[in-house]
């Protein structure tokens, strides 16, 4: 019998002890996945287990999910957009093929903001995902909600401006954005490729380490792929966390939209960590408060460029027009939602003419500057410790309000730091606010430093909730 709460590590142990078979485990997860989806709307499509005759009786199979911007050959991939509602992918994602070869079974595709734009709403053209911890709040994305509801053991997605980490914290699970290039982007539909990185969510730091080991690796057809041909299976633990130096950016409490509960929770965590013998070092990064705005400009320009081919010619749901230009405009106006239309228009505005130098090029110069500053901090400290989001899971009432926008929504101010510099970052739940909402913390490490990052995160996981 499969326990109610189980991790990948626990599942493997149970299979080894012959407490159940993979087939039984997958069937049990499939049932829970369906029940939770009925309550929380986290799936855009379900996939059959497709187990052949004796499959799943001996081998280890792990139930997982992928966001609906990961392609699988011959299957629909919508990116949560009306524009792609009938699109069938001719290719498969490199990461999903790799995972399937390592025993992971993709049981469904999860809901996401349209093309990922918005980052923490979890509201696509098709549906809004509800937060299993509080149905009145947003989940941020389908993957984290499905994990929180017990529907799978790992969820794969992408993180351009912190979306994986934010939704993980909103739903009380772990979110990992690896170094840029650590997981292949081939076969994944992204909107901001210089910022966006495939990553994952899991129920524990140990599971995140196992899932990363299965998904990471060099892809000679991804121009940004890291050269490492093999990524080791990390077992968190070992080195004493007391040996690590953790930097705390002193401007962390000067950002827009910071909620009192988040501020108090992070202050309390810092005190707790000092008491546990962790070496916390004070550091300054005044431009932290500008991170969200800098990332917003870059992401909007990249989205304007990347989403240009959804025009009703080669793909997209066409709306007829008398002439070509008219057809493009009708198709795109009908196919994209409001948040995306606003983002693309802003991207068009700042990528040319009078605003190019003043906005886009300025943002890219800031990116260079920030990357150097972060590298300076990480040359004397092992990690940077930050909150994940300035606010806890927002109420669903935010949808359709003036805060429902992809520009200046403030959610990514801490998270985007890692995206701008291509660094690995992990978020994990560390307790709750007085109102019972999930609180999180994130660690940012040097490029390629996932091993130490996971070790420190495992320690935080152990002490964080105390």
């Amino acid at each position: 019998m499969l326990p109610d709460k189980i991790t990948i590590k626990g599942l493997k142990e149970g299979l080894r002890n012959k407490d159940y078979t993979s087939r039984e485990a997958l069937e049990s997860f499939q049932e829970k996945l369906g029940q939770g989806d009925g309550q929380f709307n986290y799936l855009l499509s379900r996939r059959p287990l497709g187990l052949a005759g004796g499959e799943g009786l001996e081998e280890v199979l792990i139930p997982c999910l992928a966001a609906d911007n990961y392609c699988l050959q011959g299957e629909k991939v919508t990116c949560g957009s009306k524009m792609l509602q009938d699109y069938v992918s001719p290719v498969s994602s490199f990461v999903l093929e790799k995972l399937q070869g390592r025993g992971y079974r993709v049981m469904g595709k999860t809901n996401l903001d349209e093309f990922g734009i918005g980052d923490f709403f979890g509201s696509s053209f098709f549906q809004v995902t509800h937060n299993p911890l509080d149905k009145g709040c947003l989940a941020g994305g389908g993957g984290a909600a499905a994990l929180a509801a017990g529907g799978a053991l790992a969820a794969f997605g992408t993180d351009a401006r912190g979306s994986l980490r934010l939704s993980a914290v909103f739903c009380g699970v772990v979110g990992l954005k690896p170094s840029w290039g650590r997981m292949s982007r081939r076969g994944i539909i992204e909107y901001a490729p210089s910022l966006e990185q495939p990553g994952l969510q899991a129920l524990s730091v140990g599971d995140a380490a196992l899932a990363l080991a299965a998904a990471a690796g060099h892809d000679d057809r991804d121009p940004g792929s890291c050269r490492d041909s093999h990524f080791p299976e990390i077992v968190p633990g070992g080195e004493s966390p007391g040996d690590f130096q953790v930097a705390v950016v002193r401007e962390w409490d000067q950002v827009d939209y910071l909620e009192t509960g988040v501020k108090e929770g992070f202050n309390s965590l810092l005190k707790g960590l000092s008491g546990q013998g962790i070496k916390l070092g004070d550091t300054s990064l005044p431009s932290l408060v500008s991170v969200s705005n800098i990332t917003g400009i870059i992401a909007a320009v990249e989205a304007f460029s990347n989403l240009a081919n959804y025009d009703g010619v080669r793909l997209g749901t066409r709306k007829e027009g008398k002439f070509l230009q008219d057809m493009y405009i009708q198709t795109r106006t009908a196919g994209f939602g409001q948040r995306v239309k606003e983002f693309l228009t802003f991207g068009a505005l700042v990528s040319g003419g009078a605003y190019y130098q003043e906005y886009f090029q300025w943002a890219q110069r800031c990116r260079n500057y920030l990357k150097q500053k972060i590298e300076e901090i990480l040359s004397v400290h092992d990690f940077i410790l930050l909150p994940v989001s300035p606010f806890t899971a927002p109420s669903r009432e935010i949808l359709g309000s003036s805060r429902d926008r992809a520009l200046d929504n403030g959610g990514d101010v801490y998270a985007s730091l890692a995206n701008l510099a291509g660094l690995p970052a992990i978020s994990l739940p560390v307790g709750k606010t007085g109102e019972g909402k999930s609180l999180g913390v994130q660690l940012v490490g040097p490029a390629g430093g996932e091993e130490k990052l996971l070790q420190m995160a495992a320690f935080l996981e152990k002490v964080g909730g105390n």
Binding site: P90, R332, N368, Y369
Partner: protein, 97 residues
């Protein structure tokens, strides 16, 4: 950002979108507020020493060698085209009357 309604209309057209008057007004407000924050950031950050950075790490050329090989079957290439025949994507007239 000293943005005119015409700037916004042109940007929407560049993005091949049509915004209603209400959508334009909402976006104008968002961009005005955002522009003010960015001006604040520009002043706070001052003169920046380095050049622009486009990717966090260098990209590699992943083009295959230029040798003949099997390419995507025509049927697969056309499969997601909204209006096609057995050989082409169809589009409306390009030159307007």
């Amino acid at each position: 950002m000293d943005l005119s309604a015409e700037d916004l209309r042109v940007a929407a057209r560049d993005a091949r979108l049509e915004l209603t008057l209400e959508e334009q007004e909402r976006l104008h407000l968002i961009i005005d507020g955002y522009g003010q924050k960015i001006q604040r950031d520009r002043q706070a950050m001052g003169e920046l020493p380095g050049g622009p950075l486009t990717y966090p790490r260098p990209l590699e050329n992943v083009f295959r060698s230029d040798t003949p090989g099997v390419s995507l079957p025509r049927e697969t290439a056309l499969a997601n085209g909204p209006v096609t025949d057995t050989s082409c994507f169809f589009v409306p007239k390009i030159v307007e009357d």
